[in-house]
Symmetry: C2
Subunit: 324 residues, 2 copies
Amino acid sequence: MHTFSELLKVFKKNFENQRFEKSPEELYSPINYTLSFGGKRIRPVMTLMACEVFGGNISTALPQAIAIELFHNFTLIHDDIMDKAPLRRGRSTVYKKWNSDIAILAGDTLFALAYQYAIQAETRLLPEILKIFNQTAIEVCEGQQFDLNYENCNTVTVDEYTEMIRLKTAVLFGMALKIGALIGGANGNDAQHLYNFGINLGLGFQLQDDLLDSFGNEKVFGKKTGGDILSRKKTFLYIYSLEQSNTTDRKRLLYYYNEKKIAPKEKIDGVTAIFKKFGVEEVARKLINNYLRRGLQTLKQIDASKENIEQLKDLAFKMINRDK
Amino acid sequence: MHTFSELLKVFKKNFENQRFEKSPEELYSPINYTLSFGGKRIRPVMTLMACEVFGGNISTALPQAIAIELFHNFTLIHDDIMDKAPLRRGRSTVYKKWNSDIAILAGDTLFALAYQYAIQAETRLLPEILKIFNQTAIEVCEGQQFDLNYENCNTVTVDEYTEMIRLKTAVLFGMALKIGALIGGANGNDAQHLYNFGINLGLGFQLQDDLLDSFGNEKVFGKKTGGDILSRKKTFLYIYSLEQSNTTDRKRLLYYYNEKKIAPKEKIDGVTAIFKKFGVEEVARKLINNYLRRGLQTLKQIDASKENIEQLKDLAFKMINRDK
Protein backbone atom coordinates (compact mmCIF):
# COMPACT_ATOMS: atom_id res chain seq x y z
CA MET A 1 0.00 0.00 0.00
CA HIS A 2 1.23 3.49 -0.87
CA THR A 3 1.95 6.20 1.69
CA PHE A 4 0.30 9.61 1.70
CA SER A 5 3.24 11.27 -0.04
CA GLU A 6 3.45 8.55 -2.69
CA LEU A 7 -0.25 8.98 -3.42
CA LEU A 8 0.18 12.74 -3.53
CA LYS A 9 2.89 12.30 -6.13
CA VAL A 10 0.66 10.05 -8.24
CA PHE A 11 -2.21 12.51 -8.04
CA LYS A 12 -0.07 15.51 -8.91
CA LYS A 13 1.44 13.72 -11.87
CA ASN A 14 -2.02 12.95 -13.24
CA PHE A 15 -3.62 16.25 -12.40
CA GLU A 16 -1.25 19.14 -12.57
CA ASN A 17 -0.09 18.78 -16.15
CA GLN A 18 -3.67 18.70 -17.29
CA ARG A 19 -4.95 21.83 -18.99
CA PHE A 20 -8.35 22.43 -20.48
CA GLU A 21 -7.48 23.62 -23.97
CA LYS A 22 -10.95 24.67 -24.95
CA SER A 23 -12.74 27.74 -26.18
CA PRO A 24 -13.68 30.39 -25.08
CA GLU A 25 -10.28 31.23 -23.72
CA GLU A 26 -11.85 33.77 -21.30
CA LEU A 27 -13.54 30.86 -19.53
CA TYR A 28 -10.76 28.27 -19.52
CA SER A 29 -7.86 30.57 -18.65
CA PRO A 30 -9.16 31.26 -15.14
CA ILE A 31 -9.87 27.55 -14.70
CA ASN A 32 -6.35 26.55 -15.71
CA TYR A 33 -4.95 29.39 -13.60
CA THR A 34 -6.84 28.13 -10.54
CA LEU A 35 -5.77 24.53 -11.01
CA SER A 36 -2.13 25.55 -11.38
CA PHE A 37 -2.20 27.10 -7.89
CA GLY A 38 -1.19 23.88 -6.27
CA GLY A 39 -2.69 23.42 -2.84
CA LYS A 40 -2.47 20.58 -0.40
CA ARG A 41 -4.53 18.16 -2.53
CA ILE A 42 -5.59 16.37 0.66
CA ARG A 43 -9.04 15.42 -0.54
CA PRO A 44 -8.05 13.60 -3.74
CA VAL A 45 -5.29 11.76 -1.89
CA MET A 46 -7.93 10.59 0.62
CA THR A 47 -9.93 9.14 -2.26
CA LEU A 48 -6.94 7.23 -3.62
CA MET A 49 -6.00 6.02 -0.15
CA ALA A 50 -9.51 4.81 0.69
CA CYS A 51 -9.64 2.93 -2.59
CA GLU A 52 -6.39 1.13 -1.85
CA VAL A 53 -7.35 0.36 1.74
CA PHE A 54 -10.05 -1.96 0.39
CA GLY A 55 -7.80 -3.53 -2.20
CA GLY A 56 -8.67 -1.37 -5.18
CA ASN A 57 -6.16 -0.18 -7.76
CA ILE A 58 -5.63 3.56 -7.32
CA SER A 59 -5.90 4.20 -11.06
CA THR A 60 -9.59 3.23 -10.87
CA ALA A 61 -10.23 6.00 -8.33
CA LEU A 62 -8.25 8.66 -10.16
CA PRO A 63 -11.22 10.19 -12.05
CA GLN A 64 -13.13 10.62 -8.78
CA ALA A 65 -10.05 12.05 -7.06
CA ILE A 66 -9.87 14.60 -9.87
CA ALA A 67 -13.63 15.23 -9.62
CA ILE A 68 -13.31 16.03 -5.92
CA GLU A 69 -10.39 18.40 -6.45
CA LEU A 70 -12.26 20.18 -9.28
CA PHE A 71 -15.33 20.46 -7.09
CA HIS A 72 -13.24 21.86 -4.23
CA ASN A 73 -11.73 24.45 -6.55
CA PHE A 74 -15.18 25.44 -7.81
CA THR A 75 -16.22 26.22 -4.23
CA LEU A 76 -13.03 28.22 -3.63
CA ILE A 77 -13.61 30.41 -6.69
CA HIS A 78 -17.19 31.22 -5.66
CA ASP A 79 -16.31 31.65 -1.97
CA ASP A 80 -13.59 34.14 -2.90
CA ILE A 81 -16.19 36.32 -4.64
CA MET A 82 -18.43 36.26 -1.58
CA ASP A 83 -15.56 36.81 0.86
CA LYS A 84 -14.10 39.54 -1.36
CA ALA A 85 -10.77 37.75 -0.92
CA PRO A 86 -8.03 39.36 -3.03
CA LEU A 87 -5.51 36.55 -2.53
CA ARG A 88 -5.44 32.78 -2.33
CA ARG A 89 -2.20 30.88 -1.83
CA GLY A 90 -0.40 34.17 -2.37
CA ARG A 91 -1.86 34.83 -5.82
CA SER A 92 -4.74 36.96 -7.05
CA THR A 93 -8.11 35.26 -6.82
CA VAL A 94 -10.03 34.76 -10.06
CA TYR A 95 -12.58 37.43 -9.29
CA LYS A 96 -9.79 39.95 -8.60
CA LYS A 97 -7.59 39.02 -11.57
CA TRP A 98 -10.55 38.93 -13.98
CA ASN A 99 -13.96 39.93 -12.63
CA SER A 100 -16.84 38.40 -10.72
CA ASP A 101 -18.83 37.46 -13.86
CA ILE A 102 -15.94 35.37 -15.09
CA ALA A 103 -15.42 33.93 -11.62
CA ILE A 104 -19.08 32.88 -11.42
CA LEU A 105 -18.90 31.16 -14.82
CA ALA A 106 -15.50 29.57 -14.27
CA GLY A 107 -16.85 28.13 -11.01
CA ASP A 108 -20.01 26.83 -12.67
CA THR A 109 -17.94 25.20 -15.39
CA LEU A 110 -15.60 23.56 -12.88
CA PHE A 111 -18.66 22.17 -11.10
CA ALA A 112 -19.86 20.60 -14.36
CA LEU A 113 -16.33 19.36 -15.19
CA ALA A 114 -16.21 17.74 -11.76
CA TYR A 115 -19.29 15.70 -12.67
CA GLN A 116 -17.68 14.73 -15.96
CA TYR A 117 -14.96 13.01 -13.96
CA ALA A 118 -17.27 11.73 -11.22
CA ILE A 119 -19.23 9.57 -13.67
CA GLN A 120 -16.12 7.74 -14.89
CA ALA A 121 -16.76 4.66 -12.78
CA GLU A 122 -18.35 1.26 -13.19
CA THR A 123 -22.03 1.77 -14.00
CA ARG A 124 -23.20 -0.29 -11.02
CA LEU A 125 -21.38 2.14 -8.68
CA LEU A 126 -22.82 5.32 -10.19
CA PRO A 127 -26.03 5.60 -8.12
CA GLU A 128 -24.11 5.39 -4.82
CA ILE A 129 -21.24 7.64 -5.95
CA LEU A 130 -23.50 10.32 -7.38
CA LYS A 131 -25.89 10.25 -4.46
CA ILE A 132 -23.12 11.18 -2.03
CA PHE A 133 -21.60 13.61 -4.53
CA ASN A 134 -24.90 15.50 -4.94
CA GLN A 135 -25.70 15.45 -1.25
CA THR A 136 -22.25 16.80 -0.42
CA ALA A 137 -22.47 19.53 -3.04
CA ILE A 138 -25.77 20.72 -1.57
CA GLU A 139 -24.43 20.58 1.97
CA VAL A 140 -21.32 22.59 1.08
CA CYS A 141 -23.60 25.32 -0.34
CA GLU A 142 -25.69 25.22 2.83
CA GLY A 143 -22.53 25.52 4.94
CA GLN A 144 -21.36 28.53 2.96
CA GLN A 145 -24.78 30.17 3.42
CA PHE A 146 -24.60 29.59 7.20
CA ASP A 147 -21.12 31.12 7.11
CA LEU A 148 -22.50 34.20 5.33
CA ASN A 149 -25.39 34.39 7.82
CA TYR A 150 -23.00 34.29 10.78
CA GLU A 151 -20.77 37.03 9.39
CA ASN A 152 -22.81 39.78 10.97
CA CYS A 153 -24.20 37.87 13.90
CA ASN A 154 -22.70 37.86 17.39
CA THR A 155 -24.91 35.20 18.91
CA VAL A 156 -23.60 32.16 17.04
CA THR A 157 -23.16 29.21 19.39
CA VAL A 158 -20.37 26.64 19.31
CA ASP A 159 -22.94 24.06 18.21
CA GLU A 160 -24.04 26.21 15.30
CA TYR A 161 -20.43 26.84 14.37
CA THR A 162 -19.69 23.10 14.47
CA GLU A 163 -22.65 22.34 12.22
CA MET A 164 -21.47 25.04 9.83
CA ILE A 165 -17.94 23.59 9.51
CA ARG A 166 -19.38 20.09 9.23
CA LEU A 167 -21.34 21.25 6.18
CA LYS A 168 -18.71 23.54 4.74
CA THR A 169 -15.62 21.42 5.25
CA ALA A 170 -16.08 18.02 6.88
CA VAL A 171 -18.62 16.49 4.47
CA LEU A 172 -16.14 16.85 1.61
CA PHE A 173 -13.56 14.83 3.59
CA GLY A 174 -16.26 12.25 4.29
CA MET A 175 -17.25 12.07 0.65
CA ALA A 176 -13.65 11.83 -0.60
CA LEU A 177 -13.07 8.79 1.61
CA LYS A 178 -16.45 7.19 0.98
CA ILE A 179 -16.22 7.38 -2.79
CA GLY A 180 -12.68 6.01 -2.73
CA ALA A 181 -13.85 3.16 -0.51
CA LEU A 182 -16.77 2.33 -2.82
CA ILE A 183 -14.50 2.19 -5.83
CA GLY A 184 -12.02 0.09 -3.90
CA GLY A 185 -14.72 -2.48 -3.28
CA ALA A 186 -15.82 -1.66 0.26
CA ASN A 187 -19.28 -2.74 1.30
CA GLY A 188 -21.87 -0.11 2.23
CA ASN A 189 -21.15 -0.32 5.95
CA ASP A 190 -17.41 0.11 5.58
CA ALA A 191 -17.88 2.99 3.14
CA GLN A 192 -20.10 4.67 5.72
CA HIS A 193 -17.51 4.09 8.46
CA LEU A 194 -14.93 5.83 6.29
CA TYR A 195 -17.41 8.66 5.76
CA ASN A 196 -17.75 9.09 9.51
CA PHE A 197 -13.98 8.89 9.89
CA GLY A 198 -13.76 11.72 7.34
CA ILE A 199 -16.32 13.86 9.15
CA ASN A 200 -14.30 13.66 12.37
CA LEU A 201 -11.09 14.38 10.49
CA GLY A 202 -12.69 17.36 8.79
CA LEU A 203 -13.99 18.87 12.01
CA GLY A 204 -10.61 18.40 13.69
CA PHE A 205 -8.83 19.77 10.63
CA GLN A 206 -10.88 22.96 10.63
CA LEU A 207 -10.47 23.56 14.37
CA GLN A 208 -6.75 23.02 13.93
CA ASP A 209 -6.85 25.60 11.15
CA ASP A 210 -8.50 28.12 13.46
CA LEU A 211 -5.95 27.34 16.16
CA LEU A 212 -2.89 27.64 13.92
CA ASP A 213 -4.05 30.97 12.61
CA SER A 214 -3.92 32.51 16.08
CA PHE A 215 -1.47 30.31 17.98
CA GLY A 216 0.69 28.75 15.27
CA ASN A 217 4.44 29.04 15.08
CA GLU A 218 4.88 31.63 12.33
CA LYS A 219 8.08 30.04 11.06
CA VAL A 220 6.52 26.60 10.69
CA PHE A 221 2.99 27.77 9.77
CA GLY A 222 4.45 29.79 6.91
CA LYS A 223 2.29 32.84 7.38
CA LYS A 224 1.71 35.55 9.96
CA THR A 225 -0.58 34.56 12.80
CA GLY A 226 -3.66 36.66 13.51
CA GLY A 227 -5.02 36.76 9.95
CA ASP A 228 -8.42 35.47 11.05
CA ILE A 229 -8.61 38.13 13.75
CA LEU A 230 -7.77 40.93 11.33
CA SER A 231 -10.36 39.70 8.83
CA ARG A 232 -12.92 39.34 11.66
CA LYS A 233 -13.47 35.69 10.88
CA LYS A 234 -15.89 33.80 13.10
CA THR A 235 -13.58 31.06 14.32
CA PHE A 236 -14.06 28.54 17.09
CA LEU A 237 -11.72 30.59 19.26
CA TYR A 238 -13.84 33.70 18.86
CA ILE A 239 -17.22 32.01 19.21
CA TYR A 240 -16.19 30.00 22.24
CA SER A 241 -14.75 33.10 23.93
CA LEU A 242 -17.89 35.07 23.19
CA GLU A 243 -20.00 32.26 24.65
CA GLN A 244 -17.91 32.29 27.84
CA SER A 245 -17.82 36.06 28.20
CA ASN A 246 -19.53 38.18 30.82
CA THR A 247 -20.76 41.60 29.73
CA THR A 248 -17.39 43.32 30.08
CA ASP A 249 -15.37 40.60 28.32
CA ARG A 250 -17.94 40.58 25.57
CA LYS A 251 -17.66 44.33 25.07
CA ARG A 252 -13.87 44.04 25.04
CA LEU A 253 -13.82 41.21 22.54
CA LEU A 254 -16.33 42.88 20.22
CA TYR A 255 -14.36 46.13 20.46
CA TYR A 256 -11.04 44.59 19.47
CA TYR A 257 -12.58 42.36 16.84
CA ASN A 258 -14.75 44.92 15.11
CA GLU A 259 -13.27 48.37 15.62
CA LYS A 260 -11.53 49.23 12.39
CA LYS A 261 -9.29 51.98 13.65
CA ILE A 262 -7.14 49.84 15.92
CA ALA A 263 -3.62 49.05 14.67
CA PRO A 264 -3.19 45.39 13.59
CA LYS A 265 -0.73 44.43 16.31
CA GLU A 266 -2.86 45.98 19.05
CA LYS A 267 -5.92 44.24 17.64
CA ILE A 268 -4.29 40.82 17.61
CA ASP A 269 -2.85 41.32 21.09
CA GLY A 270 -6.17 42.54 22.44
CA VAL A 271 -8.12 39.59 21.08
CA THR A 272 -5.47 37.01 21.94
CA ALA A 273 -5.44 38.22 25.53
CA ILE A 274 -9.13 37.38 25.83
CA PHE A 275 -8.63 34.04 24.10
CA LYS A 276 -5.96 33.28 26.68
CA LYS A 277 -8.18 34.37 29.56
CA PHE A 278 -10.65 31.65 28.60
CA GLY A 279 -7.93 29.08 27.97
CA VAL A 280 -9.29 28.72 24.50
CA GLU A 281 -6.14 27.13 23.12
CA GLU A 282 -6.42 24.22 25.55
CA VAL A 283 -10.16 23.87 25.01
CA ALA A 284 -9.60 23.71 21.26
CA ARG A 285 -6.77 21.17 21.57
CA LYS A 286 -8.96 18.98 23.75
CA LEU A 287 -11.78 19.18 21.24
CA ILE A 288 -9.44 18.40 18.36
CA ASN A 289 -8.17 15.34 20.16
CA ASN A 290 -11.76 14.30 20.77
CA TYR A 291 -12.41 14.34 17.05
CA LEU A 292 -9.17 12.46 16.44
CA ARG A 293 -10.17 9.82 18.98
CA ARG A 294 -13.64 9.43 17.54
CA GLY A 295 -12.18 9.19 14.06
CA LEU A 296 -9.73 6.47 15.07
CA GLN A 297 -12.59 4.68 16.83
CA THR A 298 -14.51 4.30 13.56
CA LEU A 299 -11.49 2.58 12.01
CA LYS A 300 -11.85 -0.30 14.45
CA GLN A 301 -15.11 -1.24 12.75
CA ILE A 302 -13.85 -1.59 9.21
CA ASP A 303 -12.92 -4.79 7.48
CA ALA A 304 -9.45 -4.15 6.04
CA SER A 305 -5.91 -5.33 6.72
CA LYS A 306 -4.08 -3.96 9.73
CA GLU A 307 -1.33 -2.58 7.52
CA ASN A 308 -3.82 -0.65 5.39
CA ILE A 309 -5.59 0.75 8.42
CA GLU A 310 -2.22 2.03 9.60
CA GLN A 311 -2.19 4.35 6.58
CA LEU A 312 -5.55 5.80 7.59
CA LYS A 313 -4.26 6.36 11.11
CA ASP A 314 -1.24 8.14 9.69
CA LEU A 315 -3.61 10.27 7.64
CA ALA A 316 -5.58 11.20 10.76
CA PHE A 317 -2.48 12.33 12.63
CA LYS A 318 -1.22 14.17 9.55
CA MET A 319 -4.50 16.08 9.22
CA ILE A 320 -5.05 16.79 12.84
CA ASN A 321 -1.77 17.26 14.64
CA ARG A 322 -0.29 19.29 11.86
CA ASP A 323 1.59 22.50 12.54
CA LYS A 324 1.15 24.02 9.09
CA MET B 1 -50.19 10.04 -26.53
CA HIS B 2 -50.62 13.30 -24.63
CA THR B 3 -50.63 16.74 -26.25
CA PHE B 4 -48.23 19.53 -25.31
CA SER B 5 -50.78 21.22 -23.05
CA GLU B 6 -51.67 17.97 -21.32
CA LEU B 7 -48.01 17.30 -20.62
CA LEU B 8 -47.59 20.85 -19.39
CA LYS B 9 -50.43 20.29 -16.95
CA VAL B 10 -48.82 17.08 -15.67
CA PHE B 11 -45.47 18.76 -15.23
CA LYS B 12 -46.89 21.78 -13.45
CA LYS B 13 -48.89 19.58 -11.09
CA ASN B 14 -45.75 17.67 -10.14
CA PHE B 15 -43.39 20.61 -10.03
CA GLU B 16 -45.05 23.78 -8.93
CA ASN B 17 -46.41 22.66 -5.59
CA GLN B 18 -43.00 21.44 -4.63
CA ARG B 19 -41.08 23.53 -2.13
CA PHE B 20 -37.66 22.87 -0.67
CA GLU B 21 -38.35 23.12 3.06
CA LYS B 22 -34.76 23.01 4.19
CA SER B 23 -32.36 25.09 6.21
CA PRO B 24 -30.81 27.68 5.90
CA GLU B 25 -33.89 29.62 4.99
CA GLU B 26 -31.70 32.34 3.37
CA LEU B 27 -30.65 29.77 0.75
CA TYR B 28 -33.95 28.01 0.07
CA SER B 29 -36.22 31.07 0.03
CA PRO B 30 -34.67 32.46 -3.17
CA ILE B 31 -34.82 28.97 -4.70
CA ASN B 32 -38.52 28.56 -3.91
CA TYR B 33 -39.15 32.13 -5.04
CA THR B 34 -37.49 31.43 -8.40
CA LEU B 35 -39.37 28.20 -8.97
CA SER B 36 -42.70 29.88 -8.19
CA PHE B 37 -42.17 32.33 -11.06
CA GLY B 38 -43.81 30.04 -13.54
CA GLY B 39 -42.33 30.30 -17.00
CA LYS B 40 -43.11 28.45 -20.17
CA ARG B 41 -41.76 25.09 -18.91
CA ILE B 42 -41.00 24.15 -22.53
CA ARG B 43 -37.91 22.12 -21.79
CA PRO B 44 -39.39 19.70 -19.23
CA VAL B 45 -42.43 19.18 -21.44
CA MET B 46 -40.05 18.23 -24.27
CA THR B 47 -38.53 15.56 -22.03
CA LEU B 48 -41.92 14.08 -21.18
CA MET B 49 -42.99 14.19 -24.82
CA ALA B 50 -39.83 12.53 -26.12
CA CYS B 51 -40.25 9.78 -23.54
CA GLU B 52 -43.79 9.09 -24.67
CA VAL B 53 -42.91 9.20 -28.35
CA PHE B 54 -40.85 6.03 -27.83
CA GLY B 55 -43.50 4.32 -25.76
CA GLY B 56 -42.27 5.23 -22.30
CA ASN B 57 -44.51 6.15 -19.40
CA ILE B 58 -44.16 9.87 -18.70
CA SER B 59 -43.89 9.29 -14.95
CA THR B 60 -40.50 7.62 -15.54
CA ALA B 61 -39.16 10.80 -17.17
CA LEU B 62 -40.55 13.17 -14.56
CA PRO B 63 -37.38 13.34 -12.43
CA GLN B 64 -35.30 14.28 -15.49
CA ALA B 65 -37.91 16.83 -16.59
CA ILE B 66 -37.60 18.40 -13.14
CA ALA B 67 -33.79 18.20 -13.33
CA ILE B 68 -33.79 20.11 -16.61
CA GLU B 69 -36.11 22.82 -15.30
CA LEU B 70 -33.98 23.20 -12.14
CA PHE B 71 -30.85 23.41 -14.27
CA HIS B 72 -32.47 26.03 -16.51
CA ASN B 73 -33.42 28.09 -13.46
CA PHE B 74 -29.89 27.85 -12.10
CA THR B 75 -28.57 29.40 -15.32
CA LEU B 76 -31.19 32.16 -15.19
CA ILE B 77 -30.24 33.14 -11.64
CA HIS B 78 -26.54 33.38 -12.50
CA ASP B 79 -27.17 35.07 -15.87
CA ASP B 80 -29.27 37.74 -14.16
CA ILE B 81 -26.30 38.65 -11.94
CA MET B 82 -24.02 38.99 -14.97
CA ASP B 83 -26.61 40.87 -17.03
CA LYS B 84 -27.50 43.07 -14.05
CA ALA B 85 -31.13 42.31 -14.89
CA PRO B 86 -33.50 43.80 -12.31
CA LEU B 87 -36.59 41.93 -13.52
CA ARG B 88 -37.52 38.50 -14.81
CA ARG B 89 -41.07 37.63 -15.74
CA GLY B 90 -42.10 40.94 -14.18
CA ARG B 91 -40.65 40.20 -10.76
CA SER B 92 -37.40 41.15 -9.05
CA THR B 93 -34.50 38.86 -9.89
CA VAL B 94 -32.86 37.00 -7.00
CA TYR B 95 -29.74 39.12 -7.05
CA LYS B 96 -31.86 42.31 -6.87
CA LYS B 97 -34.31 41.07 -4.23
CA TRP B 98 -31.54 39.60 -2.06
CA ASN B 99 -27.94 40.14 -3.18
CA SER B 100 -25.42 38.63 -5.55
CA ASP B 101 -23.81 36.38 -2.90
CA ILE B 102 -27.15 34.73 -2.22
CA ALA B 103 -27.86 34.53 -5.96
CA ILE B 104 -24.53 32.78 -6.58
CA LEU B 105 -25.20 30.22 -3.85
CA ALA B 106 -28.87 29.70 -4.72
CA GLY B 107 -27.78 29.01 -8.30
CA ASP B 108 -25.05 26.60 -7.22
CA THR B 109 -27.53 24.75 -5.03
CA LEU B 110 -30.09 24.51 -7.84
CA PHE B 111 -27.37 23.04 -10.04
CA ALA B 112 -26.68 20.34 -7.44
CA LEU B 113 -30.41 19.76 -6.89
CA ALA B 114 -30.79 19.29 -10.64
CA TYR B 115 -28.28 16.43 -10.48
CA GLN B 116 -30.20 14.92 -7.57
CA TYR B 117 -33.17 14.54 -9.90
CA ALA B 118 -31.11 13.64 -12.97
CA ILE B 119 -29.78 10.48 -11.35
CA GLN B 120 -33.26 9.11 -10.61
CA ALA B 121 -33.28 6.75 -13.56
CA GLU B 122 -32.51 3.11 -14.22
CA THR B 123 -28.85 2.49 -13.43
CA ARG B 124 -28.08 1.20 -16.93
CA LEU B 125 -29.21 4.56 -18.39
CA LEU B 126 -27.13 6.72 -16.06
CA PRO B 127 -23.88 6.87 -18.07
CA GLU B 128 -25.67 8.09 -21.19
CA ILE B 129 -28.00 10.51 -19.36
CA LEU B 130 -25.24 12.04 -17.28
CA LYS B 131 -22.82 12.30 -20.17
CA ILE B 132 -25.22 14.51 -22.11
CA PHE B 133 -26.23 16.37 -18.95
CA ASN B 134 -22.60 17.26 -18.12
CA GLN B 135 -21.70 18.13 -21.69
CA THR B 136 -24.72 20.41 -21.95
CA ALA B 137 -23.98 22.11 -18.65
CA ILE B 138 -20.45 22.89 -19.82
CA GLU B 139 -21.65 24.12 -23.20
CA VAL B 140 -24.25 26.42 -21.65
CA CYS B 141 -21.47 28.03 -19.57
CA GLU B 142 -19.34 28.39 -22.69
CA GLY B 143 -22.27 30.01 -24.49
CA GLN B 144 -22.80 32.48 -21.67
CA GLN B 145 -19.09 33.36 -21.75
CA PHE B 146 -19.25 33.99 -25.52
CA ASP B 147 -22.29 36.18 -24.86
CA LEU B 148 -20.29 38.19 -22.31
CA ASN B 149 -17.37 38.44 -24.73
CA TYR B 150 -19.60 39.77 -27.48
CA GLU B 151 -21.21 42.42 -25.28
CA ASN B 152 -18.52 44.96 -26.04
CA CYS B 153 -17.51 43.75 -29.44
CA ASN B 154 -18.84 45.13 -32.73
CA THR B 155 -17.25 42.60 -35.06
CA VAL B 156 -19.30 39.53 -34.12
CA THR B 157 -20.31 37.59 -37.22
CA VAL B 158 -23.62 35.84 -37.82
CA ASP B 159 -21.75 32.51 -37.62
CA GLU B 160 -20.28 33.39 -34.23
CA TYR B 161 -23.69 34.52 -33.05
CA THR B 162 -25.26 31.26 -34.22
CA GLU B 163 -22.64 29.20 -32.40
CA MET B 164 -23.26 31.27 -29.27
CA ILE B 165 -27.01 30.64 -29.28
CA ARG B 166 -26.43 26.98 -30.09
CA LEU B 167 -24.38 26.71 -26.90
CA LYS B 168 -26.45 29.00 -24.75
CA THR B 169 -29.93 27.88 -25.76
CA ALA B 170 -30.20 25.11 -28.33
CA VAL B 171 -28.17 22.40 -26.59
CA LEU B 172 -30.60 22.45 -23.65
CA PHE B 173 -33.49 21.76 -26.05
CA GLY B 174 -31.44 18.96 -27.58
CA MET B 175 -30.64 17.48 -24.20
CA ALA B 176 -34.24 17.71 -22.95
CA LEU B 177 -35.41 15.69 -25.93
CA LYS B 178 -32.51 13.24 -25.93
CA ILE B 179 -32.84 12.34 -22.25
CA GLY B 180 -36.59 11.90 -22.60
CA ALA B 181 -36.02 9.65 -25.61
CA LEU B 182 -33.45 7.53 -23.75
CA ILE B 183 -35.80 7.03 -20.83
CA GLY B 184 -38.63 6.22 -23.22
CA GLY B 185 -36.58 3.39 -24.66
CA ALA B 186 -35.19 4.96 -27.84
CA ASN B 187 -32.02 3.47 -29.27
CA GLY B 188 -28.87 5.58 -29.47
CA ASN B 189 -29.49 6.67 -33.06
CA ASP B 190 -33.03 7.82 -32.44
CA ALA B 191 -32.01 9.65 -29.27
CA GLN B 192 -29.38 11.46 -31.33
CA HIS B 193 -31.93 12.34 -34.02
CA LEU B 194 -34.11 13.90 -31.34
CA TYR B 195 -31.08 15.80 -30.09
CA ASN B 196 -30.52 17.22 -33.57
CA PHE B 197 -34.23 18.02 -33.84
CA GLY B 198 -33.88 19.94 -30.56
CA ILE B 199 -30.83 21.87 -31.75
CA ASN B 200 -32.73 23.12 -34.80
CA LEU B 201 -35.75 23.95 -32.69
CA GLY B 202 -33.57 25.84 -30.23
CA LEU B 203 -31.86 27.89 -32.93
CA GLY B 204 -35.19 28.73 -34.54
CA PHE B 205 -36.71 29.50 -31.16
CA GLN B 206 -33.99 32.00 -30.28
CA LEU B 207 -34.13 33.75 -33.66
CA GLN B 208 -37.89 33.98 -33.27
CA ASP B 209 -37.30 35.52 -29.85
CA ASP B 210 -35.03 38.16 -31.38
CA LEU B 211 -37.59 38.82 -34.08
CA LEU B 212 -40.58 39.13 -31.76
CA ASP B 213 -38.73 41.58 -29.56
CA SER B 214 -38.38 44.06 -32.41
CA PHE B 215 -41.21 43.15 -34.77
CA GLY B 216 -43.76 41.38 -32.58
CA ASN B 217 -47.35 42.46 -32.15
CA GLU B 218 -47.25 44.12 -28.74
CA LYS B 219 -50.76 43.02 -27.85
CA VAL B 220 -50.06 39.37 -28.59
CA PHE B 221 -46.39 39.37 -27.52
CA GLY B 222 -47.43 40.72 -24.12
CA LYS B 223 -44.60 43.19 -23.76
CA LYS B 224 -43.36 46.33 -25.44
CA THR B 225 -41.26 45.75 -28.53
CA GLY B 226 -37.77 47.21 -28.71
CA GLY B 227 -36.55 45.93 -25.33
CA ASP B 228 -33.50 44.28 -26.89
CA ILE B 229 -32.61 47.51 -28.67
CA LEU B 230 -32.87 49.58 -25.50
CA SER B 231 -30.71 47.10 -23.58
CA ARG B 232 -28.21 47.02 -26.47
CA LYS B 233 -28.54 43.27 -26.83
CA LYS B 234 -26.56 41.65 -29.60
CA THR B 235 -29.38 39.99 -31.50
CA PHE B 236 -29.41 38.36 -34.91
CA LEU B 237 -31.13 41.46 -36.30
CA TYR B 238 -28.38 43.72 -35.05
CA ILE B 239 -25.48 41.50 -36.01
CA TYR B 240 -26.82 40.77 -39.48
CA SER B 241 -27.45 44.47 -40.12
CA LEU B 242 -23.98 45.36 -38.94
CA GLU B 243 -22.50 42.72 -41.23
CA GLN B 244 -24.42 44.17 -44.19
CA SER B 245 -23.63 47.81 -43.41
CA ASN B 246 -21.40 50.15 -45.34
CA THR B 247 -19.47 52.73 -43.32
CA THR B 248 -22.34 55.20 -43.03
CA ASP B 249 -24.97 52.62 -42.09
CA ARG B 250 -22.57 51.18 -39.57
CA LYS B 251 -22.04 54.59 -37.94
CA ARG B 252 -25.77 55.19 -37.88
CA LEU B 253 -26.55 51.81 -36.35
CA LEU B 254 -23.81 52.08 -33.72
CA TYR B 255 -24.96 55.61 -32.90
CA TYR B 256 -28.59 54.66 -32.30
CA TYR B 257 -27.68 51.45 -30.50
CA ASN B 258 -25.06 52.81 -28.17
CA GLU B 259 -25.69 56.50 -27.56
CA LYS B 260 -27.29 56.74 -24.15
CA LYS B 261 -28.77 60.17 -24.47
CA ILE B 262 -31.29 59.36 -27.20
CA ALA B 263 -34.92 59.06 -26.09
CA PRO B 264 -36.20 55.42 -26.14
CA LYS B 265 -38.73 55.92 -28.92
CA GLU B 266 -36.23 57.69 -31.15
CA LYS B 267 -33.69 54.96 -30.46
CA ILE B 268 -36.08 52.14 -31.38
CA ASP B 269 -37.24 53.97 -34.49
CA GLY B 270 -33.68 54.76 -35.55
CA VAL B 271 -32.51 51.16 -35.21
CA THR B 272 -35.66 49.63 -36.70
CA ALA B 273 -35.28 51.85 -39.77
CA ILE B 274 -31.88 50.30 -40.45
CA PHE B 275 -33.20 46.79 -39.76
CA LYS B 276 -35.88 47.49 -42.35
CA LYS B 277 -33.38 48.84 -44.85
CA PHE B 278 -31.63 45.47 -44.85
CA GLY B 279 -34.88 43.50 -44.91
CA VAL B 280 -33.75 41.82 -41.75
CA GLU B 281 -37.23 40.65 -40.78
CA GLU B 282 -37.55 38.62 -43.99
CA VAL B 283 -34.01 37.27 -43.71
CA ALA B 284 -34.71 36.14 -40.17
CA ARG B 285 -38.02 34.54 -41.10
CA LYS B 286 -36.33 32.64 -43.89
CA LEU B 287 -33.62 31.43 -41.56
CA ILE B 288 -36.17 30.39 -38.95
CA ASN B 289 -38.04 28.38 -41.54
CA ASN B 290 -34.76 26.78 -42.56
CA TYR B 291 -34.25 25.55 -39.00
CA LEU B 292 -37.85 24.38 -38.86
CA ARG B 293 -37.41 22.45 -42.11
CA ARG B 294 -34.16 20.88 -40.97
CA GLY B 295 -35.76 19.95 -37.66
CA LEU B 296 -38.72 18.29 -39.36
CA GLN B 297 -36.29 16.49 -41.65
CA THR B 298 -34.63 14.72 -38.71
CA LEU B 299 -38.02 13.37 -37.63
CA LYS B 300 -38.24 11.34 -40.83
CA GLN B 301 -35.36 9.21 -39.60
CA ILE B 302 -36.77 8.11 -36.28
CA ASP B 303 -38.47 4.85 -35.55
CA ALA B 304 -41.76 5.80 -33.87
CA SER B 305 -45.44 5.73 -34.74
CA LYS B 306 -46.82 8.30 -37.15
CA GLU B 307 -49.23 9.56 -34.53
CA ASN B 308 -46.45 10.15 -32.03
CA ILE B 309 -44.28 11.95 -34.55
CA GLU B 310 -47.25 14.26 -35.18
CA GLN B 311 -46.85 15.52 -31.61
CA LEU B 312 -43.21 16.39 -32.26
CA LYS B 313 -44.21 18.25 -35.42
CA ASP B 314 -46.79 20.18 -33.41
CA LEU B 315 -44.06 21.00 -30.92
CA ALA B 316 -41.83 22.33 -33.69
CA PHE B 317 -44.52 24.66 -35.04
CA LYS B 318 -45.43 25.73 -31.50
CA MET B 319 -41.83 26.64 -30.75
CA ILE B 320 -40.99 28.25 -34.01
CA ASN B 321 -44.02 29.97 -35.47
CA ARG B 322 -45.10 31.38 -32.17
CA ASP B 323 -46.16 34.99 -31.80
CA LYS B 324 -45.51 35.29 -28.06
